[in-house]
């Protein structure tokens, strides 16, 4: 402030003031753009977070109440208690529900489908991004166009196909359709075309590496971050999927969402049990999310449209 005052005296008041104002404004603008937000922002975010998490907490509350309590009060208690574990035990051991089988099935379906999507997408993405071949561009446009095909259009023929293959009730009826992911191809193409320099591919070729060797030693490591994100996406998608498995799978060979449906169907008066089941099927994904949520967030954000 003193320096401004000194300048004002020596070089004429108005000019100095204008200069000071300009300086001040410029720095203020930069400051405003980078300043920390106030407590209101954090309060609002905390509220949103609470709303995001509350339904899961509520599930635990209902799961640890008795059926009678639920039918009398909206909020039977404010803290979950140990009876929750009795409910878990009931779900896990009831033979009608096939919980362990469903857990294994969900794991198998989500893992194999996601691995296949990552592998196929990386292979195709590498070819589209870095190799030269006839109709490359046309085929890539075709892949993108296939993203537009709505699946509910094909559900009935797909079911007929599964019947003909005698796959109804078997896991491959869910896994094979889940391996198709045009978005994955598109995403890998985009990623590899920027993350993998042509020079690297050419160097490998000059050194005498075969195409597959080049893919394995050059493209695959470069694709790893994008592959991890694609895997996470697809894993969550398959884990939470209900429509198609509910059509082709049976209660003898279910996935976890089908277990919840069975719980509601068989025990629909016992909401306590149903809610414990809801939490049980969500829990594995919550664990994965706690471990890899950062990557998932980053994946959604890099995958998103930046205008």
């Amino acid at each position: 402030m003193t320096s401004v005052g000194v300048t004002a005296q020596t070089a004429g008041k108005s000019a100095a003031r204008a200069a000071a104002r300009r300086r001040d404004r410029g720095s203020r603008a930069a400051r405003v753009a980078s300043r920390r937000p106030g407590w209101v922002t954090y309060a609002l975010l905390a509220l949103i977070l609470a709303i995001s998490i509350f339904p899961l907490y509520y599930t635990l509350l209902l799961g640890s109440s008795t059926q009678q309590e639920i039918s009398q009060r909206a909020v039977p208690q404010w803290l979950p208690d140990l009876s929750l574990f009795d409910q878990f035990a009931t779900i896990v051991t009831t033979s009608q529900i096939n919980f362990w089988k469903a857990l294994a099935n969900s794991l198998i379906i989500s893992t194999t489908a996601s691995l296949a999507v990552v592998l196929f997408s990386t292979l195709a993405g590498f070819a589209f991004a870095k190799l030269r071949f006839a109709w490359r561009r046309g085929l890539l446009v075709f892949v993108i166009a296939t993203m537009a095909v709505p699946t509910q259009l094909g559900v009935i023929p797909l079911y007929i196909l599964m019947t003909d293959l005698d796959w109804v009730g078997k896991l491959q009826a869910v896994i094979v359709p889940a391996m198709l992911c045009p978005f994955g191809v598109f995403w890998m193409t985009q990623y590899l075309s920027s993350a993998l320099p042509y020079e690297l591919v050419e160097a490998a070729r000059v050194d005498g590496a075969s195409m597959f060797r080049t893919f394995r030693s050059i493209a695959l490591p470069a694709a790893a971050p994008a592959a991890a994100m694609l895997f996470l996406f697809w894993f969550v998608m398959q884990w939470t999927m209900f429509f198609w498995p509910s059509i082709v799978l049976s209660s003898q060979n279910p996935t976890l969402p089908l277990v919840v449906e069975a719980l509601q169907g068989n025990y629909f008066t016992d909401y306590s049990l149903v809610m414990a089941g809801v939490f049980l099927i969500t829990f594995p994904l919550l664990v994965i999310f706690a471990i890899a949520g950062k990557q998932l967030v980053a994946g959604i954000m890099t995958g998103a449209v930046k205008g």
Binding site: I53, Q72, A74, F120, V236, V297
Partner: protein, 374 residues
């Protein structure tokens, strides 16, 4: 990487080398170069032929035949299935329900998502924590969401009605009143997808050049003014994208309505039966009529395309009216030429819609990305 470190052959080695013979290994190498790309892309295309293209064509074939779940293919009936479906009041009711639920979910969802994104688009402490927080609902399966909210929206002893009662309102018949059931179902959809969309919009917001905000501050713009005059026009293409994917997802709602009550058939008078649930009922429920269900699938598809086009038109108009038209002229070949972090790489559109096994955006989605450049 090891290949990079391999020592390059010395110059004089190259000169002294004996003339090369074209041997088998080299022919093999040529085939390798020529056919490998096709080999690499073939898994996708084979799968697409089996899982994507074939059912697509076959649906049309099934829809013009009499076709029963148990009996299989019957005789050719032309457009009979379509006229049958169009003559069903339940079909029209399902379309109205779908549309109503879609509007009730898409509008608040976008408004909320953009607000949350604006909150997150600040210089936050532990930003990743907050971002992960808003994404938590995304890992809860729609079926589970439906069960939880179905309980919260219970007509008797439900949490929401208890709260309403606590502040002096009459309880609402979330399962008996048609509009109320739509609101409840839309809430489930919003719960699961708002945070996800917020992150997509956040990504777009973070790409807005900071100088624009500094310039706006110098011009004396307040927070709100900055948001509407800088942020909103700059993230226009992303908003279009979110709206389109929300449309496609909204039109395919199934899980939430199926699990909203224990019977799963859309309520006592089909008050919340959506079109996909109707399709399911026709094919695997009481009628077991595949021909008719295929016709429903086609009609639903046409509906999605129509609403998608209307939405696309409206959003581009509204967003364009906010000004900053120069953004429309940037980056000509946006669709194929960008990096993954660039303007056009979408969120997995297949990951977006809530209810279908492998939902996909309609063509205009891609058009959106490409169209950004025009």
């Amino acid at each position: 990487m090891t290949l990079l470190n391999a020592p390059a052959p010395a110059r004089n080695d190259l000169d002294n080398r004996p003339p090369r013979r074209v041997g088998f290994s080299q022919r093999l190498g040529r085939w390798d170069v020529k056919f490998s790309p096709y080999l690499y892309i073939s898994p996708f295309f084979l799968l697409f032929a089996l899982i994507g293209a074939f059912p697509l064509v076959y649906t049309a074939y099934v829809s013009v035949h009499e076709w029963n779940l148990l009996g299989g293919q019957g005789e050719f009936v032309g457009l009979q299935n379509f006229t049958d479906v169009l003559g069903q009041p339940i079909f029209w009711k399902s379309v109205a329900n779908t549309f109503s639920i879609f509007v009730l979910s898409a509008v608040p969802q976008l408004a909320l998502a953009i607000t949350i994104a604006a909150l997150l688009d600040q210089n936050l402490r532990s930003a990743t924590f907050w971002r992960m927080g808003v994404l938590v609902p995304y890992v809860v399966a729609p079926v589970a969401v439906s069960m939880i909210f179905g309980r919260m929206f219970a007509d008797q002893y439900g949490l929401i009605n208890a709260i309403l009662g606590g502040i002096g309102f009459d309880p609402i018949g979330w399962h008996s009143d048609r509009l109320a059931s739509h609101v409840a179902i839309a809430t489930m959809v919003n719960f699961r997808w708002t945070g996800y969309n917020a992150l997509i919009l956040l990504a777009a917001m973070q790409a807005v050049p900071r100088e624009l905000y500094e310039a706006a501050v110098i011009d004396g713009a307040g927070r709100l003014r900055q948001f509407f005059s800088v942020t909103v026009p700059q993230i226009r293409s992303t908003m279009v994208f979110v709206v389109i994917t929300a449309t496609i997802g909204g039109m395919q709602i199934f899980d939430e309505v199926r699990m909203f009550d224990a019977l799963g058939m859309g309520g006592p008078s089909r008050n919340w039966m959506t079109t996909v649930l109707y399709l399911y009922d026709v094919a695997w429920g009481n009628q077991k009529n595949f021909g008719r269900a295929a016709a429903v699938a086609w009609l639903l598809f046409m509906l999605i395309v129509c609403i998608g086009l209307i939405n696309f038109y409206l959003t581009t108009r509204i967003a364009a009216a906010d000004g900053v038209r120069s953004s429309r002229r940037r980056r000509p070949k946006a669709l194929l030429a960008q990096a993954p972090t660039g303007a056009g790489a979408p969120v997995p559109p297949s990951a977006r819609p809530p209810s279908s096994p492998r939902p996909h955006p309609t063509p205009e989605t891609d058009h959106t990305h490409g169209g950004e450049g025009r």
